[in-house]
């Protein structure tokens, strides 16, 4: 009896380690393959990969992802500030006035919004923005990105504001500060680094989103975008179109683009880790 319990303990540890290894193996393989394949492409294409146009299907030159990179940058620049501002104000509302009926509504809705498939957002923006304007545009893409990222940004900011100990808020009130004063002069300065993390996480979300862009921003791959009302491309979209193409050269470009995306994501991730480590309340 006694030894069986001990044996079971040992068996359990082995099982748990093996299964966890099994869970991590795909991830490790994924990172390694993206790096290996991507590096090959980048080495061959050189620095031109970042600003040349993608190749035509039968060309020998790898070309680059210039239009997609610019497009992704443009979409991010438009949608990031909007998302952060909307998310932050919604979070301030629900954390400062938690019993207000509007706050409860906003909170529930933000949660529901997160569970709506992102491709549905793409369809709706296509119907409401792209069709009336009669063309794909950076503006439509950015709108879809804001809708997709907003619930995440909101829920991050509201957890962040709630995690600040209430003593700080009470100290402010005891000095006869108004609620706005407490938020602007005490809570925001305290949570400065966390705010930065929220912005970075929104950025990661916006940058990697594919499905929301499918029918909204178009695919401009022959040159740099000239206006916000015109079509643009994005890196995830380029990868999405190229991975399943029958042309070897396009698949290779997709690997290169995937490596660029992964590197940017890693950069954001480590920046987040750096900021989080230093936050102590």
């Amino acid at each position: 009896m006694y030894s069986w319990r001990r044996l079971r303990e040992k068996i359990f540890i082995y099982i748990i380690s093996i299964v966890s290894l099994l869970a991590l193996l795909p991830i490790a393989h994924l990172i390694i393959t993206v790096f290996l394949n991507g590096f090959n492409v980048l080495l061959e294409a050189g620095a031109g990969f970042l600003f040349k146009n993608p190749p035509v299907p039968l060309s020998r030159e790898i070309g680059g992802i210039g239009p997609s990179l610019t497009g992704s940058f443009l979409l991010t620049v438009i949608s990031l500030p909007v998302t952060v501002i909307l998310g932050l104000f919604a979070a301030i509302l629900t954390t400062e006035f938690p019993r207000n009926p509007f706050s409860l509504l906003v909170d529930t809705i933000a949660k529901s919004l997160a569970s709506i498939p992102t491709i549905a957002v793409s369809m709706v923006v296509f119907t409401l923005v792209v069709l009336p304007m009669k063309r794909f545009s950076a503006l439509a893409g950015a709108t879809a990105l804001v809708i997709v990222a907003l619930p995440y940004t909101y829920s991050y900011f509201s957890t962040m504001l709630l995690s600040i100990p209430s003593t700080y808020r009470e100290a402010g009130f005891s000095l006869a500060m108004s609620r706005w004063g407490v938020v602007a002069r005490i809570l925001i300065p305290i949570a400065k680094r966390n705010l930065m993390v929220g912005v970075l996480m929104t950025l990661a979300r916006i940058m990697g989103e594919t499905a929301a862009l499918l029918f909204t921003c178009g695919r401009l791959r022959t040159g740099l975008p000239s206006s916000l009302m015109g079509p643009v491309d994005a890196i995830p979209l380029l990868i999405f179109d190229y991975i399943l193409s029958p042309f070897e050269i396009w698949r290779r470009v997709a690997w290169g683009a995937a490596l660029i995306l992964l590197l940017v994501y890693m950069l954001i991730f480590f920046a987040v880790k750096f900021f989080v480590k230093e936050v102590r309340l």
Partner: protein, 305 residues
């Protein structure tokens, strides 16, 4: 709550920004419902009982994609079930200090990884691997079971899509389970050890305490894989057929939309049919995730005193 005048002003000035969230949801739902009514009026129940995509002759049925969505998500959850629970326990119980930091960072890292990167890897490496290592053997030995009955030709199939989705939701489900497991008060663990339970036995007891939260985490994983697009399009093979066999290529609702919605405005009703199928998936996903998050909140208020 009594508010002073300045606070009231503050509240009112916050409302326009915040209510945009409300507006977004209302517009989304309204558009989806309004656009799917057309299809519902014309095709009624036929939409849900047949599987045809023939815009030229205006014949539509989306049974196969809906079943495909549910099947892939189910396979994904089953994959995540085994992997996530044990991974969460490993992090919570057996690792300390640096190694724990590393492993939970990896889980966090993968959780936010753009899905397109999963998609490119799954389509080029996971699918061929699954075909040769899993699907071929299962087919040759167990082909009398109907779900393994068809020959995996390319490997792009409902099964591959399910496994790829499963791998991508493991970090998400793991982090929810981990959070719930770690929020069980230490008194329960002390009680277990006090009775002379071994680590394994106390883990089983603690897990049974966390069961509602674990189930809720799996439901959230299911809802998330229902709506996932990129990974599925890259692995499922994209063809409209309804077979019980999971080794055959298929469609999910989001994969169907990804490949057909772009040209759908050219054909009468096609857009509306796609909206209708999205409505069904969105409603299932919405209901499941609201239910699951309410289960977690209720569980937490009961267990964490």
């Amino acid at each position: 709550m009594m508010l002073s005048r300045r606070d009231k002003l503050f509240l009112i000035s916050l409302l326009p920004f915040s209510l945009s969230v409300l507006a977004v949801l209302v517009i989304l739902l309204f558009t989806v419902v309004a656009n799917s009514l057309d299809a519902l009026k014309v095709f009624c129940i036929q939409l849900l009982t047949s599987s045809v995509w023939d815009p030229e002759n205006k014949v539509y049925g989306v049974l196969a994609p809906i079943i495909g969505s549910l099947t892939t998500s189910l396979i994904a959850v089953l994959t995540a079930l085994v992997l996530s629970i044990l991974l969460a326990i490993l992090i919570a119980e057996y690792l300390r200090g640096f190694s724990r930091e590393i492993l939970s960072s990896i889980v966090e890292f993968t959780g936010g990884l753009p899905t397109i990167i999963f998609a490119i890897w799954a389509s080029q490496y996971l699918v061929p691997f699954l075909r040769d290592a899993v699907m071929m053997p299962l087919h040759s030995y167990l082909s009398f079971i109907s779900i393994f009955s068809c020959r995996p030709v390319t490997g792009f199939s409902v099964f591959s899509a399910g496994i790829a989705l499963g791998i991508s939701i493991v970090p998400y489900v793991t982090s929810i389970i981990l959070e719930a497991y770690q929020s069980i008060p230490v008194a329960y663990r002390e009680a277990c050890y006090g009775m002379g339970a071994t680590k394994y036995e106390s883990i089983r007891i603690l897990l049974s305490l966390a069961r509602p939260a674990v189930v809720a985490a799996l439901i959230l994983g299911f809802a998330r894989s229902l709506g996932e697009t990129t990974i599925v399009v890259a692995t499922i093979g994209n063809s409209m057929n309804l077979t019980p066999c999971i080794f055959a290529p298929g469609y999910t609702v989001s994969a169907l939309i990804a490949s057909q919605f772009g040209n759908a405005y050219l054909y009468p009703y096609a857009e509306s049919v796609l909206y209708f199928s999205m409505l069904i998936v969105a409603v299932i996903s919405l209901v499941l995730s609201l239910y699951a998050s309410s289960v977690i909140i209720k569980w937490r208020s009961r267990i964490v005193v």
